[in-house]
């Protein structure tokens, strides 16, 4: 399955948001995730399934003024 993750095309076998975060070694507590421009609530990370062609944005906090 091909996904676009933060603008990069990724070939992956991950079937849920939760699995994808784990495979990327990203701590779910510290990020927000958009799937095709819709924000996914944290409690849906384990149930929200991914499909070929999905566009995913994973964002986190950085220093800022």
């Amino acid at each position: 399955m091909r996904l676009s993750v933060n603008g990069e095309v990724k070939e992956t076998g991950c079937s849920t948001v939760s699995e994808l975060l784990q495979s990327l070694q990203i701590e779910p507590g510290h990020v927000a995730v958009e799937l095709n421009l819709a924000i996914i609530p944290k409690q849906q990370y384990e149930t929200m399934t991914l499909n070929d062609g999905d566009r995913i944005e994973i964002v986190h906090f950085v220093g800022g003024g």
Binding site: L24, I26, A32, K42, I58, H60, G64, G65
Partner: protein, 259 residues
């Protein structure tokens, strides 16, 4: 003499410190933490960006004690209302309280905020239950419109972001303070503790500082200096400054000279 109950209250929440600090541009997380500690601040701003896939470095959140500091996510990078609203919603989804420092800065050279897009975004975010702290140019009419829309503060700039030039918008900020029904937080351009003190002497409720703390080789010391500047300015405002005059008025008695 010492006002015991001089809390800063924003949207019903009380803070002892009137100095907000930004977390950008520090040379290290340790430098940032030191500045936060010495500033005495209870509100710190952060930005939201894409995770660098393949290099997910440690999160800034692991360096900020959320019991001690209220995290205030900004919408920096947003060029219009739609992008700002998207960033605010993402910040909330990332686990923040629904507070947002709203900034919409389409102009890359001076980073001046777009008043129309800022007002549009503020109206949407207030309706969605956000506590909105909008960064604005020092425009009293816009400040009024935002307050009417339900923002929790207004945050007029002293000078463009990161310029360290102090309060170049003094007369406009004075009008904003005079007319404000919510706290006025002077944000951007404050490069020295004297600038922060000046804002507070004018009656601003708080100031936000980032660059001045981040670019010095000693952020902790500078943060301590800003803390004192804010406190000094606040106390002077509460005490009441003397009226300015053109002619001298002797401090010493003019009668009873020798001889």
């Amino acid at each position: 003499m010492n006002p015991l109950n001089d809390a800063l209250v924003i949207a019903g929440r009380s803070f002892n410190s009137r100095l907000l600090v930004g977390t950008g541009k520090f040379s290290s997380n340790a430098a940032m933490v030191e500045a936060m500690q010495y500033s005495g601040s209870e509100i710190v701003t952060v930005a939201l960006r894409r995770v660098d896939i393949g290099n997910p470095d440690d999160s800034i959140l692991s360096h900020i004690d959320r019991n001690k500091y209220l995290l205030l996510p900004n919408t920096s990078g947003a060029r219009d209302a739609e992008e700002a609203v998207r960033l605010a919603r993402l910040s909330r989804a990332a686990g923040c309280d629904p507070w947002v420092k709203l900034e919409v800065t389409p102009d890359p050279y001076y980073l001046l905020p777009d008043p129309i897009e800022t007002l549009k975004a503020a109206e949407i975010l207030v309706k969605e239950g956000f506590t909105v702290l909008p960064y604005i140019n020092a425009d009293p009419v816009l400040a009024k419109r935002l307050q009417e829309a339900g923002t929790a503060t207004v945050m007029p700039l002293g000078a463009p972001i990161g310029t360290n030039r102090g309060i170049r918008t003094r007369d406009q900020i004075a009008i904003i303070i005079e007319q404000a029904i919510v706290p006025v937080v002077v944000d951007a351009g404050l490069g020295a503790p004297s600038h922060a003190a000046e804002a507070m002497e004018m009656g601003a409720d708080a100031v936000l500082v980032n660059t001045a703390l981040a670019v010095t080789p000693n952020p902790g010391l500078m943060a301590a200096a800003f803390r004192k500047g804010v406190e000094a300015g606040r106390e002077a405002f509460l005490a009441g400054l003397g009226e300015q005059r053109q002619k001298a008025e002797a401090s010493s008695p003019l009668t009873g000279f020798l001889g």
